[in-house]
Subunit: 305 residues, 2 copies
């Protein structure tokens, strides 16, 4: 029996990671490959909106077998992948992130400097002359809307906009209306405990001797989230102690006005002052115009840590 | 004035590195980008045959300016690139090797598990619907013939063969006849000093605390090369001392019969005995059926060092 390839995105999956896994399954199957899209973490509220809209689901896996054949989408660094990724055989990587990747064997690697993995996948369909069905177009659009915050994030490229325009016709939806509803669904934080809040979209980074986490939540009301600041700090400090982190930055991003308030904790908490030219007050700072972890938070923190 | 992008392959360039640089320049120019193919080392005899056949040339650069925009072909590891690659801005990588790559910014990365970079480039032309001219087809074929030793190397994939078949028509040459002449031209080692011989196609590798070099020459007569063994060992031992190497493996590959004789020196010289299940005698061993550094020499040495 032919072995089934597992396709998955990063830990704490966002809409791009989930949608791109499902899209890649569709593409690989059309190319005749036996495969299955899975997730390695909990679906967030925004992604839930998309999956409910389409009436589809994606199974969860906790870890993988040794020598499991896998395709990674929307990430390449092992720290952001499934626990035992070192034991897997990575057949392909489809991504749009900075790179820190090693493999002692040949594989297919495709990264493009665009705002969303689904934009890269769109190119793959076009190159292989494979028709993009309505549901796939909606998945691609959802991923692009999510990663670019409806084309307002600085990570959004001209190519993402062009692809979204072409997808809109196939999808047959009003992108602005659908997109706002989807983003708003993602900002409903009522059901989350503080532990969950700081893990909705958290990524761990390593640089020489420093280990840090940048977590992000999207909201339409920063104030609502800050009401829980005391309890949030408590769970962040617990996380810092458990994982021996030097820094934990929790960004609360106002997706309507494109700003963020950050809470910075850990023994290197103060480096955000230089990084963003702000003063921490009550462990917090307001970052005007900052919405993107990849383009704004990570590079500035990385430079200063 | 728009900045010119430099395109180059690895140190000690082989035919794939040189041809793929020139092919990529052609492709990028057709896409409207200002660029120039260059080489970062001496042309070998085999590549010289190709360039003479087509009446073309490729300029040499010793190093690059800070922030120079570059495209890497046929390699991705910084140890195999131009000295000051750390200061460059890598826009694209087109490759078919194992990966050890970091970049703190987004870029276009395209690697495929095939025998030759030119096979990947062929796919890029097809995807972009760009016509492959006769000269470009001959360059692609030359690279594929070189990297696969006329389709006999274990690195050769079905895809390389399919692409070569399609290129043969455009190129209008007898691949077998042209290929043998090209490979034989590459085995003319008369003009080389021993210092040059061990550097014709040498690649350096690092693994934890071990640093080693695997050098390779192609020949139609292993005996002819072995006549110089004493002097070859002398220059290898000099290289080991200067670069503080743990191991230097010099493979003399018989391209007609697909075997290699290796000379193994350095304080870890004996690891080749386990790696290939042979006994070193007079620092040498015969490796039946071994022709590929990438698929045979590197993985077995890497496992045992």
């Amino acid at each position: 029996m032919e072995e089934e390839i597992l396709i998955f995105g990063h830990k704490n999956p966002d809409t791009d990671s989930i949608c791109s896994s499902i899209i890649m399954e569709n593409l690989e199957k059309k190319l005749g490959n036996k495969c299955k899209a899975v997730r390695i973490g909990k679906i967030n509220k925004e992604t839930e909106y998309v999956l409910n809209y389409l009436g589809i689901d994606i199974p969860y896996v906790e870890n993988i077998n040794n020598d499991q054949k896998v395709i990674l989408v929307d990430h390449n660094e092992s720290t952001q992948s499934v626990e035992n990724i070192e034991n897997a055989k990575i057949l392909k990587v489809i991504d749009h992130h900075t790179m820190n990747f090693k493999a002692p064997y040949l594989l297919y690697y495709r990264a493009e400097p665009v705002g969303c993995t689904s934009t890269v996948l769109y190119h793959l369909y076009k190159e292989k002359n494979i028709e993009i069905e309505k549901n796939i177009a909606i998945l691609m659009l959802s991923a692009i809307i999510s990663d670019t915050l409806l084309f307002k994030s600085p990570t959004c490229t001209e190519e993402d906009k062009i692809v979204a325009k072409e997808l809109e016709e196939i999808a047959g939806i009003d992108v602005e209306k659908y997109g706002l509803e989807m983003l708003k669904a993602g900002t409903n934080l009522d059901d989350f405990s503080e532990e969950e809040l700081i893990n909705i979209d958290a990524k761990e980074f390593k640089k020489e001797n420093a280990k840090y986490v940048i977590a992000q939540v999207n909201t339409v009301s920063i104030e609502d989230v800050l009401e829980k600041q005391e309890k949030i700090e408590e769970v962040i400090n617990k996380e810092i102690a458990e994982k021996n982190l030097d820094l934990f930055v929790f960004a609360i991003t106002d997706i309507l006005n494109s700003n963020s308030e950050i809470i910075s904790l850990g023994k290197k908490a103060n480096i955000v002052e230089n990084a963003f030219n702000v003063n921490l007050k009550n462990n917090r700072a307001f970052l005007e115009g900052v919405v993107s972890r990849k383009k704004q938070l990570v590079p500035n923190i990385d430079k200063n840590i």
